[in-house]
Symmetry: C2
Subunit: 471 residues, 2 copies
């Protein structure tokens, strides 16, 4: 550019970093563009040192991450059967209750998780009244609490799994690992939001005594149902398989109805089971979640991999686990969800972030695939353009594009998959999760839905552990 | 701008109209923007005069179009029952065959329509061999041919309806009019593509003897199924309800399965019927089409309305009808479809544009809602961005945004609805139709899918008729 032009042309300003100058210039009517630059790792020297250490071992890290990503893409989870938790879930003890998120005892449990615990105790018949159940729940040692995630299991919201509950058995045919989840109860007053009224318990009993044996027989006749294929189709049918599961539920229904009619189960029972599934567009969520779990568990323990294998919340803490550090948890207090509340509720009614369902985002769907389900943007309080932006942003912090799950609105690009702790810290961009909001009191139920990000602290702790664990 | 700046700044060029200058400047490396300006009505003086006449009566035209658009939005088509064509379709004669598109006799019928006619004659038992059937089909007077559209009926591709065929009965609960369509046979060798082999005929017989009475009983128990609501949901689930009907078929299946189990129909029969629906993602097309027909028929005969009520093709001619000119047809030779052919086929195999299914576009879905079904873009040979562009372009030639059908990717804007003949002529923009491509020989079946526009001649004829018919 000729120097002379500087004096005849209007000048523009680009502000880099601190927005103070930008805001001042804006006030003065100057044409100014703000570049949101931040120093890596927010300028935290300890974290920068850890990033440097991982950078020096970048070949090893790259090898680990490539292997983890490859396994995630190659996993083929099939619905292969059903069983009761006590019969099939590894390490399921006699008086054990599994819950969502990282480990916590009764003392630190939030309202909906406590309510679900009471419901599970009553459901199992370990106590006859909520008061008795509460004494038992709070006692030292009468009940053992353990995270679903430590038993190859995932559960939405409170995520309670008790020994008698029937669970889906999802087997990854490529690598042989298995994942489990209960059946979805529907909306309204349900155990996963901490409700334990007689209607909740009798529904759970019906699910155990009628729905479970029926579906079990149908699934056995199916020869196995390819769940990744269903999820891939869902992403072309407006679902992101976390907060929208309508097409998934419909496809599962289409598969099951003819199978159930091939069993010996009575016609009226078959009809009631189909009506129950038809009444709940979220029925497939409890198949989507263990599919993701079966995919991600294939990466647990891969040396030097910085990819996240678990993101989950127990309503008190948020916990993540990373491939290279195996079964170690990195936790921090859970955030509150920002979103739209149902009429009559205020921010004061909301429980902190809750549930194992963030396994969907960890696996590249849910919030990461919101561009495939723009209707969800309305539900959580945004526009279709926001949904597109969230899905695009996630490519910045992930290993690559999913080989199976694609987004039509991004011209069938694979969803952002394999959250890399290094990228999260380096760029300061946290994974996006879309999620339901539970009332903070047991049993009130869902009060809204919205978006939430994990606490950065989980990723900071994980980064430091990864850096000191290169081998 | 100071004159001095003209000499220090780089100049850009905007070319308006004729692209000759634009192309020359491009070759010389000049920065140039081309504005695709065309004179109204392509400069045709007769058409411009007709536009002027309609412009002078613009209050009357606006009133007619507002009324037509209002009725389309207010129509509430419900699936209310089933019956055999001869019992329920108005004016269905004893040896009458209904076909897609505007009227035509045997002599001008294309291969797939002829094949379907032979199939229908054999199915009815009017002849025992294809040779006998052909003699009968070509004779003067043994068979009466009539357009589906003139009997409140629509049919995909050849659209053949013979007296014994069972049809869905769709009633518009707002205005009381009724529309009819046969059940979809599936893909592969099927009557609508002109196949008439024994397997095709025995499938049709099974549909008449087992599927029809079963579905009829289920539909009776339903109390009526709100089809506009299903289509509205489909647009949020990746379907545009013309070439993609997967979520619609799934939702219909979910509704029907429990109903069928409430009937007295034998369990194995129910299972076979459900398996048949499950085997064909296009099953819902034959419910989507009569829904659109029931909506559009409410506008037939509204004085001075320039909105299109019918677009359809018989494989030889394309025909349209317009609200203000009632039942009068405006026809021209049908175009060939541009798109993707299945492996092994060439352009030489393709039949011209065929079928009543363009009723979907006429009603604001199908090609007009492609932005809601980006997966269809791949199927017809384009990108998700193309799908978005097509849907946006259609607002330029329509009355307004549909009150019921919305597109998530356009932030839930209603689909472009109510094609205005004046706007089509004025802007030279034709409606976009996405469609299957039939082999030109009877019975080969579908050879591909693509995009097509109607011949401009249909709209030119309609405009002249409208201009001379203001009252």
């Amino acid at each position: 550019m000729a120097v002379s032009e500087l004096f005849v042309k209007k000048l523009g300003v680009i502000n880099v970093g601190v927005p103070l100058f930008y805001n001042d210039l804006l006030k003065q009517g100057v044409e100014v563009v703000n570049l949101e630059w931040k120093p890596p790792a927010g300028g935290n020297l300890q974290l920068i040192a850890a990033l440097d250490q991982l950078d020096k071992a970048q070949d090893k890290v790259a090898e680990g991450n490539a292997e983890a990503f490859k396994r995630m893409n190659e996993a083929q989870p099939y619905l292969e059967g059903m069983g009761q938790a006590k019969e099939v879930i590894p390490g399921m003890g006699e008086r054990m209750l599994l819950h969502a998120g990282p480990a916590l005892g009764w003392a630190r449990m939030s309202g909906p998780v406590r309510g679900a615990v009471l419901g599970a105790i009553l459901y199992e018949g370990w106590a006859d009244t909520p008061e008795e159940a509460e004494k038992m729940a709070a006692s030292e040692g009468l009940i053992t609490y353990s995270p679903c995630h430590e038993h190859d299991t995932v559960g939405p919201m409170a995520g309670l799994v008790s020994p008698s509950m029937p669970v889906f058995i999802i087997k990854n045919r490529t690598h042989g690992n298995v994942a489990y989840a209960t059946m979805n109860e529907g909306l309204g007053k349900v155990l996963r939001f901490g409700a334990y009224s007689p209607e909740v318990l009798s529904r759970l009993k019906w699910m155990e005594q009628e729905l479970y044996p029926t579906l079990k027989k149908g699934i056995e006749l199916s020869g196995g149902i390819d769940l990744k294929s269903i999820i891939a189709q869902m992403l072309h049918m407006g679902d992101e398989a976390h907060n929208r599961n309508k097409s998934g539920t419909s496809m599962f229904f289409r598969i099951m109805a003819p199978l159930l009619l091939k069993t010996e189960v009575k016609r009226d029972v078959v009809r009631r089971c189909l009506e129950f599934i038809d009444s709940n567009d979220h029925f497939f969520l409890n198949l989507s979640m263990p599919t993701c779990k079966a995919v991600l568990d294939t990466a647990v323990g891969i040396p030097n991999s910085t990819l996240v294998t678990t993101m989950t919340r127990n309503g008190t803490d948020f916990g993540i686990r990373v491939a290279g550090t195996g079964r170690q948890w990195f936790t921090a207090p859970a955030n509150y969800v920002e979103g739209l509340l149902f009429p009559g509720f205020t921010a004061n009614d909301c429980n902190p972030d809750l549930g194992d369902s963030a396994i969907t985002e960890t696996s590249g769907i849910g919030g990461f695939a919101m561009a495939a389900a723009p209707a969800i943007a309305q539900f959580v309080g945004g526009s279709a353009a926001d949904a597109l932006q969230f899905s695009k942003q996630m490519y910045l912090i992930t290993q690559g594009a999913n080989s199976m799950y694609t987004i039509p609105a991004l011209d069938f690009k694979g969803t952002a998959t394999g959250i890399d702790v290094r990228k999260v810290i380096d760029l300061g961009i946290l994974p996006i999760i879309n999620t339901g909001i539970a009332h903070k009191e047991a049993g009130v139920g869902q009060v809204g839905a919205g978006l939430v990000r994990p606490p950065m602290e989980c990723f900071e702790k994980a980064l430091l552990a990864l850096a000191s664990n290169i081998h």
